[in-house]
Symmetry: C2
Subunit: 319 residues, 2 copies
Amino acid sequence: MRALVTGAAGFIGSNLTDRLLAQGWSVRGIDNFSSGRREFLANAERHASFELHEADLLTSPNLKDLFAGIDIVFHLAANADVRFGPDHPKKDLEQNTICTANVLEAMRECSVGRIVFSSTGSVYGEPGVFPTPEDAPFPVQTSLYGASKLAAEGLIAAYSESFGIQGYIFRFVSILGERYTHGHVFDFCKQLLEHPDRLRVLGDGTQRKSYLEIQDCINAILIVIEKSDEKIQIFNLGTDEYCMVNDSIGWICERLGVNPKREYTGGNRGWIGDNPFIFLDCSRVRALGWSPCLTIEQGVRKTVRYLQSNERLLRERFE
Amino acid sequence: MRALVTGAAGFIGSNLTDRLLAQGWSVRGIDNFSSGRREFLANAERHASFELHEADLLTSPNLKDLFAGIDIVFHLAANADVRFGPDHPKKDLEQNTICTANVLEAMRECSVGRIVFSSTGSVYGEPGVFPTPEDAPFPVQTSLYGASKLAAEGLIAAYSESFGIQGYIFRFVSILGERYTHGHVFDFCKQLLEHPDRLRVLGDGTQRKSYLEIQDCINAILIVIEKSDEKIQIFNLGTDEYCMVNDSIGWICERLGVNPKREYTGGNRGWIGDNPFIFLDCSRVRALGWSPCLTIEQGVRKTVRYLQSNERLLRERFE
């Protein structure tokens, strides 16, 4: 199988690339290196069946040249940060919606038949049903990030109906693990490296969130594309549990051996558009035989260990 | 009140403009005249409190200059044709999604606090619940048009959450009435003017559709913005009934005094992404005291009369 992975140098993209190569796939990676890191592809670049192209999905004039001969696109390139949407309102639209439109057009021109898309549980806004199933009541968007991903989902479904492209849409909870470079575990570890005696927490720490470890995430994607053959398919992806931000702080501090004073910014939301409760119903993907290997606690602890071993990441600024 | 109406020279925009002016509002109209018609604004242009600007929401570099001093935006400019999406896949994205993003940015820069948006029942894809309520199960998009409008809805909701803009989103069934220049009544009248003895019908004629007359549509919008004050609000807008395409053909032929041979293209969908059954639950807007004055049959007949009196419209090609 010949895969094209967008955002190949990113957290999810590079882990997926490694796995596909290990399973004997050919992988063409694309990244604009706005937040991706070449070092994450060090392993991949040792494979003869891997090629890397520096290209921008928004602006590249010859994008379709990269899609020739591809069987399936894993479209993971994105602006992945929910939090800073209001600081640059066009970024989510451009990076998540318009780039997806450009990918779909390139696929259509090159007759590429399948796309895997990394959507988000944020598309549920603030749902009224927990755990939230894929066919929950029609949501109202609360973040520019969620809105931009929902728009991309809609484009993929419409392309599927219009042009016969097969679409696999995954609504992720937050993903954790090796090469993780943004999110609350990263923020907290970074703070505690700089000042182990205090920790600033957005909101009141009672926000309930779900997390999934990257290898569990990749397992699910690979099972779905092997076993499921509908024209358009949507899967929640998470664990069957949630934790409070305060729980996660406890695990992180224990692992780091620190006991900081917690300074809460207050309120039950960490930022505008923050969803105080994320808990997805993942029975649809579980029915295909998938289940996660790690609990949330195990995922958080593993991620802290990774960041401890790669402390330089915490000293950098990621977009 | 000072309103800005985008798509002011269009079918809905020009009718709304006339109504607002009659009620004493000041109206600034914008149109790029891609499908809008100056003649539809003949009445408006007699009002001192009306001004018209030829501008393109997608490309105009100084859009925000037009938003200064506005109390509420009625964003009606759109590519309104569901049917031809696959012929030009970027058109819906550009005209419906990106233009809405540009409108929202201009509003934000000029501190305009309220937006009314013309969305569509097409965002429900092919729903499983009839009549379909606003909180129906999370739909899967089936048309580029629906996907582009859903994306715009999401942007409006996210802007509302992020920047405090108040958003009124209306999911219309097909709107009929004076100045109507596209849709099935238009197509059928145009065909029957050219060849009264035969009528080509897309699909098998059993598609069940809902329609609403333009003045009923405007009544609903004005009642909602007067009575409802939530941050973000979504309303279906239609009649509490549906008809078959074949019913509508009967009314049209009777009114025109013709008896054509009907040539069906077959299948239960007229085109890719056509929804064979549209029937919206409008109890949310009815609870505010609105109800339509005309039935679907009355709306169709009124529209045919209008087209008979304005036969020149049928001889033109609208984008």
